[in-house]
């Protein structure tokens, strides 16, 4: 399959690959998998408790090129955003940015799910209530 230049770029130079301390209070970890293909992705965020700004984001993805590119891009996008802003990121924006073909849409969904899971984990750790609307399970 032909990957777009942007996918190839993220694939060859993935941004923000790595691990944050899972046990730290300011770190949220999202581990998600795509049942369609069996690929897995972990995305972690470090949130400033005062401002709720995501100061750091790391990922590790075992999966296809599109999933790696999607998660790499996702970490770039969420860094510097507030939690609420990060939740607004839709997989369709990732699809557009990376020019993913229809069969690779689920790879971008994985990245969106990972952001949500990481934020959910961080909220749970810090006993913050989830705003009902934003956390609506699709």
């Amino acid at each position: 399959m032909a990957y777009s230049d942007k996918v190839v770029d993220h694939y060859n130079n993935p941004r923000n690959v790595g691990t944050l301390d899972k046990s730290a209070a300011e770190v949220g970890t999202g581990l998600v998998g795509a049942p369609e293909c069996g690929d897995v992705m972990r995305l972690q965020i470090k949130v400033n408790p005062a401002t709720q700004v995501i100061e750091e984001a790391k990922f590790k993805t075992f999966g296809c090129g599109s999933a790696i590119a999607s998660s790499s891009l996702a970490t770039e996008w969420i860094k510097g955003r507030t939690i609420d802003d990060a939740l607004k990121i839709k997989n369709t924006e990732i699809v557009k940015e990376l020019a993913l073909p229809p069969v690779k849409i689920h790879c971008s969904v994985l990245a969106e799910d990972a952001i949500r899971a990481a934020i959910g984990d961080w909220r749970k750790k810090n006993n913050l209530d989830e705003p009902a609307a934003a956390e609506q399970v699709k």
């Binding site: 581990l31 998998g33 049942p35 369609e36 069996g38 690929d39 897995v40 590790k60 075992f62």
Partner: protein, 227 residues
């Protein structure tokens, strides 16, 4: 995507005009080839829609149809008959490949039944099971990465290798367990009424999800332990 013609509606043969209910590739009366079938893969072989299949019978049906569709038999046929025979050949191959494989057959039948994949209705339990599985899959993948790095550097990490060997054994066992559970659900589906079928379908979706993660993992572990 998949259109299934109501088989109760009789279709008249273009050649002998005898109507038949079953959507077969050939007319049961005059044995002329019929326009491309709109039936599902099961009807291609004239078998019931079920998950426990007699694989030997399926293979025989496949060979019989392949013979009947052989191009040599259509040398003097009309242009449309030739075209139909080619379309049928592709269909028969596709149908055979799908039905003989246990996982693909299960996926296909679920799709026919309109079941949405990867969306288990029993969400909470499935999620629970899945999170544990995901964690394991992820951990093992990390170890695989480590192993790859070691290999690249020309080192041997005997301890890690042993861990992976254990993981392989453990996961092969789980694949077997999943397959066994899947066969139980097949039987439940085949014999069940609508309610039992819906329940079985739900289980099958979850089992297939699990199976995909395990298969990927096993493939990667095997790949690295190969040499």
């Amino acid at each position: 995507m998949l259109k299934v013609l109501d088989s109760a509606v009789p279709v008249a043969c273009w050649s002998c005009s005898v109507a038949h209910n079953e959507s077969t590739l050939f007319c049961p009366d005059c044995s002329k080839i019929q326009p491309p079938s709109t039936g599902d893969f099961f009807s291609v072989f004239g078998i019931e829609r079920r998950l426990n299949l007699d694989l030997a019978a399926l293979e025989r049906a496949f060979h019989r149809l392949s013979r009947q569709l052989h191009p040599d038999r259509f040398v003097r046929a009309s242009a449309s008959e030739k075209q139909w025979s080619l379309a049928d050949t592709a269909l028969v191959n596709d149908a055979y490949r799908t039905l003989k494989d246990p996982l693909r057959r299960t996926e296909y039948l679920l799709k026919l039944e309109g079941v949405e994949m990867g969306a288990p209705a029993d969400a909470s339990r499935a999620l629970d099971q899945k999170t544990n599985l995901l964690e394991e899959v992820f951990e093992l993948n990390m170890q695989l990465d480590e192993m790859r790095a070691a290999k690249k550097a020309g080192q041997r990490n005997a301890e890690l290798e042993e861990t992976l060997r254990q993981a392989r054994k453990w996961n092969a066992g789980r694949v077997e367990a999943v397959d066994c559970q899947m066969r139980e659900q097949w039987t439940r589906w085949d014999a069940g009424d609508a309610a039992a079928r819906t329940a079985a379908q739900r289980e099958l979706v979850a089992l297939l999800d699990r199976r995909r993660f395990l298969s990927n993992l096993l493939r990667d572990v095997n790949e690295i332990l190969k040499d």
